[in-house]
């Protein structure tokens, strides 16, 4: 295996030198300098490092102004990215941390701790160009090199030659100078960067990679190979790029030293804190008031009057009433609200002596609904009229439930149908059939996607919060009434803020909206 590889490498060397030897004859120092000058970039300015405010001391913020060469050249400019280096205060060498894309002015270092002091340096990194990857195949390689030469005639002018970086399928040995991702690449780039030396020619690179698995013989222009120690890995050359060398990076002054701070209060969120406290206060205050037995006023909810009329209509016609409490289980607050309204409907049917039918899709809902209907009949003074089979379970399956109710509607033709609770797509099927049998339909749900269909297909709809308000009104439960009232105060405060804010803002007096920004 190893032999085979040495053979391949030798062969490659042969090919490569055959390819590049003529070019070697005319390397011109002048052109090199000119070339380098052309690609030299200016460093970014005003580089500073601060503690990232309002966090647990795990981050530093780096700010800078763009290098003047960033975004000069057409759309892209000369700067490909910014390279960030960091060292502990007092140490000499910088360590590569990460890169930021060109046009960026800010970066975060999230890999710091709260104990140490850090210093930073930033460098603008010039572009290099990436070409098509080629597989590990010597003949292909030669072809590719030819193509590459055609694409990049300056190859012989570049003193640093071509860099081939390599990828094995096992990432731990992966070297990608393009992305600076591997530890090997990291080290080399940053060591040379911090030492201030330019990578001149293959020797520089050899030195950088001495600790790694650099095994290739160096050719004048065909820089180097990196080899994985895993022998069975199929190799793939991924990038061939013009490598300008780290020496071309334009570095800033050292910034720092800085240390992170842990904050005890997130200063940007004080407005949220105040609003949350005020709102919670009102909600809890009104719940307390309601528990003490204070009457809390709730406006007339028109949908509840419609309930009475609709039950009356069924009575006149001598037909049944269907009540459908949605397809969700008892822990859904919409189902709870729906079942509360069922209590009201049941009381009316008991008083008017109309037949009520409640098909449900959850066993727990069935149990609760039976209790509620029974209680309503007892309160109306007609416990004997209650029959357990008024409330019956059909199936848990969403569409199965809809289909079963569909069939019942067509057969029994109820005069009035209530839909109160949480509904999904089945709402459509139910409301359509209900409409086709000319039933009066009253719906109530807080499902935003189903509300439009109910509004279009039903005679009356309790929209969203109206459902909860209705149930609070009917159940007289202090916790529901109190919260409703507390929310109303919250709404009133927000409405006032809104009105004042818009007026103030329209006349351009004051940036009122910033109170609500984060």
């Amino acid at each position: 295996m190893l032999r085979k590889r040495i053979l391949i490498i030798l062969l490659l060397c042969l090919f490569a030198s055959a390819n590049f030897l003529p070019a070697q004859e005319s390397p011109s120092a002048n052109i090199n300098t000119e070339f380098l000058e052309r690609f030299k970039v200016k460093p970014p300015t005003d580089f500073e490092v601060r503690d990232t405010p309002n966090d647990n001391g795990s981050s530093l913020t780096l700010n800078w102004r763009l290098s003047p060469d960033d975004n000069l050249w057409g759309k892209r400019g000369l700067v490909e990215k910014y390279v960030i280096g960091r060292r502990l205060a007092g140490e000499e060498k910088f360590e590569f941390i990460s890169t930021a894309t060109n046009q960026s002015r800010i970066a975060f270092d999230n890999s710091v701790n709260n104990k140490d002091r850090y210093e930073y340096q930033l460098a603008a990194y010039p572009f290099k160009y990436i070409f098509r990857p080629i597989p590990w195949n010597s003949i292909m390689m030669v072809k590719q090199m030819e193509r590459f030469k055609a694409l990049a005639p300056w190859i012989s002018l570049n003193p640093h030659g071509v860099v081939l970086s390599m990828l094995s399928q096992n990432y731990s040995y992966y070297v990608d100078l393009d992305g600076f991702r591997s530890d090997l690449a990291r080290k080399s780039v940053w060591e040379n960067f911090s030492a201030g030396t330019e990578l001149s020619g293959p020797e520089g690179i050899t030195a950088a990679f001495a600790a790694g698995q650099v095994v290739s013989p160096f050719l004048p222009f065909f820089s180097f190979f990196v080899q994985s120690s895993l022998t069975s890995d199929p190799y793939q050359l991924v990038t061939i790029g013009r490598y300008l060398g780290d020496g071309l990076m334009a570095k800033t002054e050292v910034a720092g030293p800085v240390k992170t701070k842990k904050s005890w209060l997130h200063l940007g969120r004080i407005n949220v804190l105040i609003i949350a406290v005020v709102l919670s206060f009102f909600i809890l205050y009104f719940i307390r008031q309601a528990r003490k037995g204070k009457e809390l006023f709730i406006r007339k909810i028109a949908g509840l009057d419609a309930v009475e009329d609709a039950v009356g209509r069924a009575t006149e016609m001598g037909k049944e009433i269907f009540f459908i409490p949605g397809t969700q289980d008892m822990q859904n607050i919409q189902t709870i609200a729906g079942v509360t309204i069922l209590g009201r409907v049941a009381r009316l049917t008991a008083e008017m002596d109309t037949k009520l039918e409640v098909p449900v899709s959850r066993s727990l809902v069935m149990v609760t609904a039976r209790e509620i209907v029974q209680e309503a009949y007892a309160n109306a003074g007609r416990p004997e009229a209650y029959d357990e089979n008024m409330v019956h379970y059909l199936t848990d399956d969403q569409f199965g439930y809809a289909a079963a109710i569909d069939g019942k509607m067509v057969r029994q033709r109820p005069a009035t149908i209530f839909y109160m609770g949480a509904f999904y797509a089945e709402s459509l099927i139910l409301a359509e059939t209900g409409n086709s049998i000319d039933a009066i339909q009253i719906a109530g749900t807080a499902m935003p996607a189903q509300l439009p269909f109910f509004v279009a297909a039903c005679d009356y709809t309790l929209i969203g919060e109206e459902l909860f308000a209705a149930s609070a009104y009917l159940s007289k439960e202090p916790k529901l009434l109190g919260s409703l009232k507390g929310q109303d105060i919250g709404k009133a405060l927000l409405l006032i803020a809104l009105a004042v804010g818009v007026v103030v803002q329209t006349f351009g007096w004051y940036d009122f909206a910033s109170l609500f920004r984060l």
């Binding site: 949220v272 439009p452 009133a492 329209t506 984060l518």
Partner: protein, 281 residues
Amino acid sequence: MDSNIVGVWIAAFLTLGIMSFLYKDNPWYKFSEAIFVGLSAGYWFASLFWQSLHAKFWTNWSPAVQSLFQGQFDYNLLYTGAGILGLMMLLRLVPPIGWISRWPLSVVVGGTAGLYLINYLVSNAIRQIGSTIQPAVTFPESIGWVQSGGVIIGNVLVFAVLLVSLGFILFGRSSTIDLPTPTKLFFFLIALVACGLGTFYSLSMPLNLTGLIIFMGVFCGLIYFFFSKEHTGFFGGAATVGTWFLMVTFGASFGYTVMSRMSLLIGRIDFLLVEWLKVVK
């Protein structure tokens, strides 16, 4: 036979099986549906097994336990707690001790409540109010033809809405404004002229009323959901305008939902015609 071709035929068989329900309920549909129900539960089971329990719990917990045997304490040992709570959740399948599942449930409920309290307050209330507070009227220097069309339509609509709501407040059945009818009419006439001039003005120079319209919608909509005061007088008028905004909103939702549903069907028809029958390229 190529497994892909077999796959496409099976997929078509099942697709048509589900669609056969449109004709009427039948065994073919029930069969397809049963496969769907079983398969999707199996899918969740396998998916969660590898992607959550294995990747998340086991890979953290087992090395921690191993290192415990070597006498080291690992922070990841705290995952034992999660493991126990997860097991408690599964105990719901055993009714006599099913109540124990309330413990993990209350972790979920508590966490969700804590997170939601802040999230909804911040993203859905505070930030929404903040971005509604903007100048009601702006005068953009230049806007394109298309936008100005929208602005003009918007202006006409707004003036119409203003006019109608003013009419409602003045003459509505629940109006509490106690003035002689001629005076009311006079006010209304002034408003009418103002609105007409405004509309005309907006045709000649686009003033952007987006801020005002959004403000009115939010304001009136919130008043509709305000339960501490009867909907009479100004409140009644505003609430009525609020319902109009809500209705337009529902109309938009309606349109989008129809669009969505139809897209899904188009996707299936595309499968039948392109991938299965290959009658369309």
